[in-house]
């Protein structure tokens, strides 16, 4: 079973990297780009058949390591195929 985890900075947390990308896009001539936020994306292969258990494991992994919940939120997608 494959899981995809997206980690993004919480709203209101300054994202200097996103801002730098935003600036570069402006330089490249994309005046209609309003804002950019940078995040992280993980793919995790699990030896697990039960989607509920898989979700619980991924949730645990996300809070213990992949995201720092002081500044980041995460969303999980489980591919049940």
């Amino acid at each position: 079973m494959k899981a995809r985890i997206k980690v993004m900075l919480k709203n209101g947390v300054l994202d200097p990297q996103g801002k730098a990308i935003e600036g570069a896009l402006d330089t490249l001539g994309f005046p209609n780009v309003a804002s950019v936020r940078q995040g992280k994306f993980f793919e995790v292969e699990l030896d697990e058949k039960d989607p509920a258990k898989a979700r619980a494991t991924i949730d645990d992994i996300s809070t213990k390591l992949l995201a720092n919940t002081v500044i980041e939120n995460y969303t999980i997608e489980i591919d049940e195929k």
Binding site: V13, P16, Q17, A20, K64, L65, L66, N68, V70, I71
Partner: protein, 222 residues
């Protein structure tokens, strides 16, 4: 005072720390590899600066989950003093021993220069050889030193007088909240700071104002 410095893959200030500890405390510290699971009996554990695990994921994030860290937490809970400098401060935050997180410097550049630090709380085991409000010179060298936490935690840190050092005289090099350069836990035995006092201990460094931090520990811990 017996001390141990934990060495992680990618640490690079551990020798400076070992040298400073030996010169100032007079006792040779132990270097402990991160893959160990038990610390020797010591009065002080130090997490040194560097780029553990190449700063992968988040600075200090992988190191904070290294095998030795379970015992570091256990020792901290039992009252052993723990000092984290730079990458070590990032590890303390990632491991939950200190609140908050060190984010990318607000200007996105690595900073390597001297700053002015104000001793904001001189009544701790780590700071008692400074005087309250004293401003001293110390080097910084980091890309992720921008201290951040939620408003409630920040208010608690300030209310409980747990900010030990602040960047002074407009020298905040990273955008850190409230100019925070160092904080301490509620019990007063775990402190982290971004600047490098171990690199300001003899005249060759250009100053000796970092010595007082180690002298404070020498006086109170052992």
């Amino acid at each position: 005072m017996k001390s141990a410095v934990i060495v992680f893959p990618g640490s690079n200030r551990e020798r400076d720390m070992l040298t400073a500890l030996e010169k100032i405390t007079g006792t040779k510290p132990l270097a402990v590899w991160h893959a160990e699971t038990e610390l020797p009996k010591v009065d002080l554990v130090v997490l040194p600066g560097g780029f553990s695990y190449g700063d992968y994921l988040r600075t200090g994030a992988i190191a904070a989950r290294a095998p030795i860290m379970a015992d570091v937490k256990k020792k901290a809970d039992s009252g052993v003093h723990v000092l984290g400098v730079c990458n070590g401060f990032q590890m303390l935050c990632e491991s939950g021993l200190l609140p908050g997180i060190l984010m990318r410097n607000n200007h996105l550049k690595f900073v390597c220069r001297h700053v002015k630090l104000e001793t904001a709380n001189a009544d701790t085991a780590f700071t008692n050889k400074y005087t309250q409000g004293e401003v001293w010179r110390c080097p910084v060298a980091h890309g992720d030193g921008n201290y951040f936490t939620d408003a409630e935690t920040l208010a608690r840190l300030e209310g409980e007088n747990r900010v030990t050092f602040r960047y002074a005289e407009g020298t905040n090099p990273n955008g850190s909240l409230n100019d925070i350069a160092g904080i301490i836990n509620a019990r007063g035995n775990v402190m982290g700071l971004m600047p490098h006092p171990e690199n300001e201990i003899e005249e060759l460094n250009g100053g000796i104002e970092g010595r007082a931090l180690f002298e404070s520990l020498l006086e109170t811990v052992a």
